[in-house]
Symmetry: C2
Subunit: 316 residues, 2 copies
């Protein structure tokens, strides 16, 4: 087995998990071999179904992901899970979650679970996550679940990565009200009300129905269904898989899948370009000039827009 | 009263709320007058204390903010609240929250509450929020509370905007465990365990203590205190204000305040520069070329890194 990016891709495609892990690390670290790896991977992409899972901490995203993995595996599909932690400049927690969840499937070559930190600040998630998906797709996984920590910008970005986006809620967390506030109603292809055995689950469903009824009709005619589930016991997961299949068919038939994937590619290319330009800014001799400009701004002697102009155009 | 940016700044500084509202709208919309407004505002900045409030949906961020506003008002300070919704490409919900909370202080000129949507995708929050803070600072507010929706990337960005960051938790939400996962332990200057009257509050405090004991010692010697509060009844808010004062003194004495503000200015200038460059990308004749490149990437004929290169360098 070679260790150049192209050989890694071939080895990963023939089922070697260590080669796959190395490829994802190339992406995560933005390593020099990444460019060649992406080139080798491109022709094999486009076959995987990408399912995004979002929701507030505590609603049971990981449990729902786990239940989906088991269900797809029992249907003979190969499944990858990409857990994205957008707060990673600080966190080492993602890896722990990995290890815990890996145990269920440690000996199953049809399952690959990986947490990914998104280094850096601006555009971290939007640059690395799509490329990791690209690798998993090319290697032959049938379904890729993308799970993210938290609610917010990252949620919206995840939705732009996925073919189907699940918004997961649970009773007793004030989620239904917050959902409207956070604008995640609009990104949901399917709602999952998890922990259906707990009091208040029916209330969440009712609130959701009310809000969906008030929302403008979804573009292209898909009406997001609400699935009541208890992922821990497996209740409702069959129905969820069924709704996912229906959504997948609708995506294909309506042309929405290709439309979304085109937008996704557009976003991805833009994000890589912006990151590239940002790197160039960092590499300018003006790197030390930035500190001077920041000091002027912090002391009120210069406004930040003029400072940014000087940074871009190199005026003194 | 003139309506050019400079006159708006003068009018807002002499207490006209409509001029202030217009200035914040200039920021939010990135209007042409923004550049001049920022220039007019710069010399008056640096006086306000900026308090960031973060935490999962449902922990009571708005209630804590409200309690802080009442407390600072009764001490005669002028207080502004900036509520940032990082998912705003979709949401109109922020404005609703505004109206609800505004009622308490509708006739008090010493309180200004504003929700701000962060338009666009990359860098929205990091470009608009600091400039809005700059306006509120220059207009003479003593304390500015910045509150954000959700957990994730936005949380970390908010921390970089604030002098003091409150991480708010509540019992029964699995927050303490999630906190470690999401890496927000590292951004907290003060922890608030809200809803102290609910079962499990002491447990959250205990879990936090355990995790803080395991964490590496904080840079510069500040040890984040944990404040147990019930913001709805006002319990614990006095102690919270006291801890905020202590943190403010520590920031000044240790030099950490100036250090943070320098980093903040640096981030702000960089973000504006990146947004400016991104606008230039959008304005290139290659805007239509981007669609072609995206189609090639979506179909696997081109990898996204090569596509980004073509976008930046204009190769065909």
């Amino acid at each position: 087995m070679g260790t150049d990016p192209k050989s890694l891709v071939e080895a990963a495609r023939s089922g070697d998990p260590r080669s796959l892990a190395r490829l994802v690390s190339l992406v995560e670290n933005g390593s020099p071999g990444l460019r060649e790896a992406m080139r080798a991977v491109a022709p094999y992409t486009g076959g995987a179904r990408i399912v995004g899972l979002t929701g507030s901490p505590g609603v049971g995203k990981s449990t729902v992901t786990g239940a989906l993995v088991r269900s797809y595996r029992s249907a003979g599909l190969r499944v990858a899970v990409l857990a994205v932690d957008p707060t990673s400049p600080f966190s080492g927690g993602a890896l722990l979650g990995d290890r815990v969840r890996m145990q269920d499937h440690a000996t199953d070559p049809g399952v690959y679970i990986r947490s990914m930190a998104t280094r850096g600040h601006l555009g971290g998630l939007s640059v690395t996550a799509p490329q990791a998906l690209r690798v998993l797709d090319a290697v032959g996984f049938d379904v890729i679940c993308v799970e993210t920590v938290g609610v917010g910008q990252a949620e919206v970005e995840i939705a732009s990565l996925a073919d189907s986006t699940l918004v997961i809620m649970a009773p007793g967390m004030g989620d239904s009200v917050q959902a409207a506030k956070a604008g995640i109603l609009e990104i949901a292809d399917i709602f999952v009300v998890n922990k259906s055995d707990r009091p208040g689950a029916q209330e969440v469903v009712r609130d959701l129905r009310t809000m969906l009824a008030m929302a403008p009709a979804a573009e292209g005619g898909w009406k997001p269904p609400i699935v009541l589930a208890s992922a821990a016991s497996g209740d409702g997961i069959g129905e969820l898989v069924d709704k996912l299949d229906k959504h997948w068919s609708w995506l294909a038939d309506s042309g929405e899948r290709d439309r979304r994937r085109l937008i996704r590619a557009r976003e991805e290319v833009s994000a890589i370009a912006v990151a590239g330009i940002r790197r160039r800014i960092g590499a300018l001799p003006g790197e030390s000039r930035l500190d001077d400009l920041a000091a002027l701004v912090a002391s009120g002697k210069l406004d930040p827009i003029s400072a940014a102009d000087e940074l871009i155009d190199g005026r003194d």
